[in-house]
């Protein structure tokens, strides 16, 4: 029969418990002996160590008397251990009034002292009996109340820790406490079972369990903030040592068996052992690998992820894909719920959220380049965790908004993405779903992945910049070509219009004069046809100038683009109704308008522009379709977007859109609508752009600059004066000087003005005009613009220099090309575009003369 007292299963466990406890004790002592909480934990481990060694000495005692002595020593530690544990729990909780603690400590340690004094007597342990499993202590009656008090103390300590566990906001702390609580519960259960008579001793196993769980927690989860530098060495030493022991015992057992039962000699024995050892080696390797995997599973996973991410980023230069890939990989591997990637904007002023997971992107604001977080990330290599934000003094510069954003994303880890010392982005990770702390291995993996990501993101950004530059270059090139074409057309149209206007002026003037003289209805009818033809001709010239974008004769006023849309729709709606009723073409019109500040413009022209674009969209919709109009304000521009789901514009003709007389509608279109629209918007300082895909539809964007507050105010201030001038018209006879080098025009004007009752003096050129004005006394001057040697501008200036109140009317075939405000500054009060009617001329004269009267009082 085997002697239980010498059996390894009886003697070995206390030794194992001792070794683990002592290693733990040394580790905690070396790493964090300054913290009171850890000091108390050290004391607890110390008692545990002494308990284990006392049990070993008890079990290995040669006789019952020696065993009784050692068991009474064990009782000192068993009953005293809860005191130290409770002390530890109080230091962990760190309740507010430490003086109370001191009294509690005093009481508890006095209680322990009492145990130390009483333990050698038979009050706790009465005697020892030898049982089948070894020595069995028989407890004295006093042991039980002490036991109950000790267990209560342990439970009170557990309650203290669980209070912290419940209230702590720090997930890693909760993790640590969880391990300590579980380990302590096992210890309590083991100790309680030890106290039940008749049961074999299992308390030592709970001791081992406690130490092992705590060791695992320290190694894997940095319990008590202990990060072991020699972690790997320790793990290898422990696990491989353990394997070696098993391996060695196995070989030793086999050799003993061979020698005893088979009588094999030493050398043969050695040979057989060598063969067995070699054949068992793969199993040893496998076991070693298992240990590795168990402790370093994350590392294995991480390596696989790094490889996968490397492959993914190699295959793309798309910034969006890259950011998605990074976020997906990081969140899936680290199992964190929230991740946000901040990338610099094009101007480099902000780091904006490029991609996020687990949180609404709209609740996140960007980080300014001046943000302390960005400055820190630029200057430092390491990661920041949430605790660092509370601790690092540089973080005192974080604004409330930035802090609340970090709280919003529950930022647990902030990682600068750097490529060659340049900050490419910032990755912010929320807590892990398991609420565990990011391990060293996690950080290592992140360092590699983020390093790769920084390079790839920079490359992708550079690629995109090049792509954008090329696109912009192409767009500018197209714009230049179009502008040059328009300029050439404009020059030609301007010249033609000028000459044509002069001719029409002569025809119209003479026709109107003749109409006054002639009474014969037949001749009058003919003259009216001539008059109408001249007026039609003038309109044609104006249209020519419109689409060549050279008109500048309009006074801009504040215009609300939402009103423009409203008026345009009023004009387009009859056509939509007609299309539906006549052709059954139903177009679903949707309107989305935002509050937009006014633009400076001519409302009529803008309505014409929008109507042109709307008509094109309606034409592009072949059957039933959708037409959408949206208005919005972006930066300092008001935007009207007109989108349809029509046929779209083929790529090969996109660059011809807006050219005069170019139409995709065949015989149905003149090809002037969009050209006029381009001209109008260009003159308003805006732009027209479009996106189009064949078969999907087209969206036109009209962008107009928002009017400055000053301009709006000026415009509002001017308005009543103009209205008042028109309302107060008074007819008056005046002395008028007419300066024109074109005899036909001169004669026309003279006749018209004399017929209107004015005194008229004629000058054939600018020099003569100025001379006559200096010599005479005139109420008003009418001058042509284009004259040899001295132009109409110079005549106007000379007149104003002489008598500033005399109004000057400039007549010109270029009229629409001048800015009236500028003309006023140059001394011209009114510009009349040739051809003009007699009524128009008289109305201008009367208005100007009345204004002079009012100003002179």
């Amino acid at each position: 029969m085997i002697n239980p007292l010498t059996h390894p299963s009886y003697l070995f466990p206390p030794l194992v418990a001792f070794v683990i406890s002592i290693v733990l004790l040394i580790t905690v002592l070396v790493k964090s002996r300054r913290i009171a909480r850890d000091k108390a934990f050290c004391a607890f481990l110390f008692c545990l160590t002494l308990w284990s060694i006392a049990i070993y000495l008890f079990r290995s005692s040669p006789d019952i008397n020696r065993a009784l002595f050692w068991d009474r020593i064990v009782a000192i530690f068993v009953l005293g251990l809860p005191v130290v544990f409770y002390h530890f729990s109080l230091t962990y909780v760190q309740t507010r009034v430490r003086a109370i603690h001191k009294r509690v400590y005093l009481f508890l340690y006095l209680y322990w002292l009492l145990i130390v004094i009483l333990a050698p007597s038979s009050l706790f342990i009465e005697r020892i009996e030898l049982r089948s499993y070894g020595y069995a202590p028989i407890a004295a009656p006093l042991m039980y109340p002490f036991m109950i008090f000790c267990v209560s103390l342990m439970l009170a300590g557990l309650y203290n820790l669980s209070k912290v566990y419940r209230t702590s906001l720090i997930s890693e702390e909760r993790n640590h406490l969880f391990y300590i609580i579980i380990a302590t519960l096992i210890l309590i259960v083991g100790t309680l079972l030890d106290a039940i008579p008749g049961l074999p001793p299992i308390g030592i196993w709970s001791n081992i369990a406690f130490s092992t769980i705590t060791a695992i927690a320290i190694l894997r989860y940095h319990l008590l903030d202990i990060r072991l530098v020699i972690k790997k060495g320790l793990v290898y030493f422990g696990s491989i040592g353990l394997l070696m022991v098993i391996y060695g015992i196995l070989l030793f057992g086999i050799s003993q068996y061979l020698e005893r039962n088979w009588g094999i000699t030493f050398w043969r024995n050695a040979l057989i052992l060598l063969v067995i050892a070699i054949s068992l080696y793969p199993i040893f390797r496998k076991s070693q690998e298992r240990v590795d995997r168990w402790f370093y599973r994350e590392k294995y996973d991480h390596l696989a992820i790094i490889e996968r991410f490397g492959e993914e980023i190699k295959s793309t230069m798309d910034l969006t894909l890259l950011t998605s890939s990074l976020i997906n990989i990081v969140t899936s591997v680290l199992k964190c719920g929230i991740a946000c990637l901040f990338l610099p904007d094009s101007e480099g002023k902000y780091f904006m959220v490029a991609k996020c997971q687990g949180i609404d992107i709209n609740v996140l604001s960007g980080l300014s380049q001046q943000s302390i977080l960005v400055l820190w990330a630029e200057r430092n290599e390491g990661f920041l965790n949430r605790r660092d934000i509370d601790v690092i003094p540089q973080m005192r510069g974080l604004t409330v908004q930035e802090r609340s954003m970090l709280d919003e994303v529950k930022a647990s880890l902030i990682i600068p993405l750097k490529n060659r010392d340049k900050l490419s982005g910032i990755l912010v990770l929320g807590p892990k779903l398991s609420e565990q702390k990011y391990s060293e291995d996690d950080l290592m993996m992140l360092r590699v992945v983020c390093g790769q990501a920084a390079v790839s993101l920079d490359n992708a950004r550079l690629f995109k910049e090049v792509e954008d530059s090329l696109f912009e270059l192409k767009r500018v090139q197209e714009q230049l070509v179009r502008a040059e074409r328009t300029r050439a057309l404009g020059e030609m149209a301007g010249g033609v219009a000028h000459d044509f206007n002069n001719i029409l002026a002569a025809i119209l003037g003479r026709a109107q004069l003749a109409l006054d003289d002639v009474t014969d209805e037949r001749i009058r009818k003919g003259l009216k046809v001539i008059e109408q033809a001249a007026l039609d001709g003038a309109r044609t010239v104006r249209r020519l100038q419109d689409f060549t974008r050279v008109r500048a004769d309009h006074q801009f006023e504040p215009v609300n683009i939402n009103d423009v849309v409203k008026k345009s729709l009023e004009l387009v709606e009859p056509r939509l109704r007609e299309l539906q009723e006549a052709k059954g073409k139903a177009i679903d019109l949707s309107l989305s308008q935002e509050q937009v500040e006014p633009v400076m413009g001519d409302q009529g022209e803008l309505v014409e522009t929008l109507v042109n674009i709307l008509n094109n969209s309606i034409d592009a919709i072949s059957d039933n379709g959708k037409l959408g109009i949206t208005t919005r304000q972006e930066n300092n521009y008001a935007e009207i977007a007109v989108s349809d789901n029509g046929t779209g514009i083929p790529d090969n003709i996109k660059n011809r859109i807006g050219d005069p007389y170019f139409s995709t509608k065949g015989r149905l279109g003149m090809g002037l609508g969009l050209s006029v629209a381009y001209g109008i918007v260009n003159r308003h300082g805006g732009s027209i752009d479009f996106d189009s895909s064949v078969g999907e539809g087209t969206t036109f964007y009209i962008k107009l600059p928002i009017a400055s507050r000053e301009k709006v105010q000026q415009s509002v201030a001017k308005k009543p004066e103009g209205d008042l001038g028109i309302l107060n018209r008074v007819v008056k006879k005046a002395r008028i000087l007419v300066v024109d080098d074109d005899e036909r025009i001169r004669d026309n004007l003279q006749t018209m003005l004399i017929q209107s009752g004015h005194d008229v003096t004629i000058a054939e050129n600018g020099v003569q005009g100025i001379s006559k004005f200096n010599d005479g006394d005139y109420d008003l001057v009418i001058t042509d613009l284009g004259m040899p040697n001295v132009s109409g501008w110079e005549v106007a200036k000379a007149v104003k220099r002489q008598v500033s109140v005399v109004p000057v009317i400039l007549i010109t075939g270029w009229g629409v090309q001048f800015d009236r405000e500028k003309a006023r500054l140059d001394g011209v009060d009114e510009i009349l575009t040739k051809p003009f009617t007699r009524e128009r001329l008289c109305e201008s004269i009367e208005r100007l003369l009345n204004m002079v009267d009012r100003s002179l009082g």
């Binding site: 964090s32 300054r34 913290i35 962990y92 909780v93 760190q94 309740t95 507010r96 009034v97 430490r98 912290v164 209230t167 702590s168 906001l169 720090i170 702390e173 903030d225 300014s368 001046q370 943000s371 302390i372 400055l375 605790r387 509370d390 601790v391 690092i392 003094p393 540089q394 005192r396 510069g397 604004t399 409330v400 908004q401």
Partner: protein, 535 residues
């Protein structure tokens, strides 16, 4: 658990030091980064409020340069109608509480404290305690639950208000407890706290320097007549301390001192007179005083390093600008003059500057004249390794006595000169007076010992020559002693104090000002002295 307590529980000592005292380890560039960032944040937070718009003239400066260029320097008068009425509608944020100054200049200055501002202040309260009790870098000798003997005015006085709200953020045991002390008069509160400190011991003393010394003096004077009740003597802790204190004092052949009984780890003081009382505080309380600098309008602005030598400005309380002394003089001569300011990274050693602050964290105080003049002693503190400019309080702006344009004496200089004579005095007040065209430094002083006025004047004159180098020229140039001393009979100042108390004057206005007291005050002191001397 209070917010800051949690950090003590969960952080290592190294991290606790970093959190509360780490500002001493930042570089000047990092200091300026924090300043600029929080200034822009402050502008963004406050510029849309009524008061913000009013002070900023409706502009929103986009940079620190634009801010300094476009925003005028302000004084309390610019805010007074709104702040005195505690009008919250004009503010950007609803304040956590309102508090007011001691009203040394005749009226209270009311100031709001936002939640964000208070969080920063609470953190710095802990910093003061840690640095005050530390002997070297990283030393954490102050913990939640420690006892603090406090001798400060209750809410709504500023420091009273700050301390009143502190338990929400940090646990400490005030001596006397708030609920027992806030509704009693200052003397009773002082007595309550001191008695508790003697009975229980105390970890930290927080008080004005002069009061700390007064407590020590009064303890020494009254200990022979002091009767201890049996209930106190039955307390073992007190009995133990008493026996030890008696033995120590006997062995050293002196009277028993508060330090023998209480043994505080730090004496925390604010105010302008700490340097004067430094040695006495060390004598009575056994610890060098730890000085911090702040006011109602500025909040905490600076505090000493653990070597208790010079003070370091805090980076995240206010945006700091400094008007060089020569600019202040030009400004005083011509009120239309716009003085230029320098920033914290531009200051020079040995130069005096008037402080201009812009508060962070939501209180709309922009380019505000605190009214204090400070001097920079060094650009860094080699002893502690702090790489930031080191300063000390110089004097209140405008509270100097100009003697023949040759020397400008401030309160501290005169005080130090009086103290250095070794003459025992009760109280004093000084101002400039003329005899024809001749100006003199007139000191009205009540002594605790018999001396002649001429002798006292001579001794002070000698000390002033040692302390202030410019003062030497005054005597040489004027060919006469510029100090004139008027001795006031014993009890004059006490009588004055009682009269003011009867008139219902506030605590802060009981004592005559040390510098440039108004004619009325001097007249009353002289009248009282006549009554006492029986003239």
């Amino acid at each position: 658990m209070a917010y800051e307590d949690e950090f003590f529980r969960t952080l290592s000592e190294k991290d606790i030091w970093q959190r509360y005292c780490g500002f001493l380890d930042i570089s000047i560039d990092e200091f300026m980064d924090i300043q600029r960032r929080l200034l822009m944040d402050q502008i963004a937070r406050v510029s849309d409020s009524f008061l913000g718009k009013k002070i900023l003239n409706g502009i929103k400066p986009k940079s620190e340069e634009e801010f300094r260029h476009k925003v005028p320097i302000t004084t309390y008068q610019d805010y007074e109608p709104y702040l005195s009425a505690r009008c919250e509608d004009v503010l950007a944020e609803k304040p956590l509480f309102w508090c007011h100054s001691a009203g040394r200049r005749g009226s209270f200055k009311w100031m709001p404290f936002t939640v964000a501002e208070y969080e920063v202040t609470a953190k710095y309260c802990v910093s003061v305690c840690i640095l005050g009790t530390a002997n070297k870098r990283g030393d954490i000798n102050f913990h939640p639950g420690d006892r603090v003997l406090m001798n400060l005015a209750p809410p709504p006085y500023t420091f009273g208000s700050i301390l009143h709200h502190l338990p929400q953020y940090f646990t400490f045991r005030p001596q006397p407890p708030f609920d027992e002390s806030e509704n009693v008069d200052f003397q009773t509160r002082l007595q309550q706290g001191f008695t508790l400190a003697l009975q229980q011991g105390t970890d930290v003393v927080l008080s004005l320097s002069s009061i700390m010394v007064k407590m020590g003096q009064s303890f020494v004077e009254r200990q022979k007549t002091m009767k201890l009740s049996p209930s106190i003597l039955l307390k073992p802790r007190f009995l133990k301390s008493l026996i030890r204190a008696r033995l120590v004092s006997k062995r050293q052949g002196r009277a028993m001192l508060p330090r023998d009984l209480c043994q505080p780890r730090a004496a925390l003081t604010g105010g302008t007179d700490t340097t004067i009382y430094r040695d006495e505080i060390l004598y009575y309380w056994g610890v060098k005083p730890f000085e911090f600098y702040g006011a109602t309008d500025s909040g905490f602005l600076a505090m000493q390093n653990w070597n208790k030598k010079w003070m370091t400005f805090l980076p995240d309380v206010s945006f700091l600008e400094f008007i060089p002394e020569e600019e202040t003089i030009k400004w005083a001569e011509n009120p239309d003059y716009k003085p230029s300011t320098v920033l914290f990274n531009e200051v020079e050693v040995g130069k005096a500057y008037e402080i201009i602050i812009t508060r962070f964290h939501g209180t709309p105080l922009f380019r505000y004249r605190v009214g204090d003049v400070i001097k920079f002693a060094a650009l860094e503190d080699e002893e502690t390794g702090v790489k930031l400019p080191q300063m000390f309080f110089y004097h209140r702006a405008g509270e100097t006595i100009d003697l023949a344009s040759l020397a400008r004496l401030d309160e501290r200089t005169i005080w130090k000169a009086i103290a250095n004579t070794g003459i025992k005095y009760e109280e004093w007040s000084a101002r400039k007076e003329y005899n024809g065209s001749q100006s003199f430094l007139c000191i009205y002083i009540e002594l605790k010992e018999e001396r002649q006025a001429g002798e006292v004047g001579h001794l002070i004159d000698e000390q002033l020559k040692i302390i202030d180098i410019d003062y030497v020229d005054v005597g040489t140039e004027l060919e006469l002693q510029p100090v004139k001393v008027t001795l006031l009979p014993p009890g004059t100042f006490q009588r004055y104090l009682l009269e003011r108390q009867k008139e219902g004057a506030d605590l802060a206005h009981l004592k005559p000002a040390h510098i440039n007291a108004p004619d009325e005050t001097i007249r009353r002191l002289l009248k009282l002295s006549e009554v006492y001397s029986g003239k």
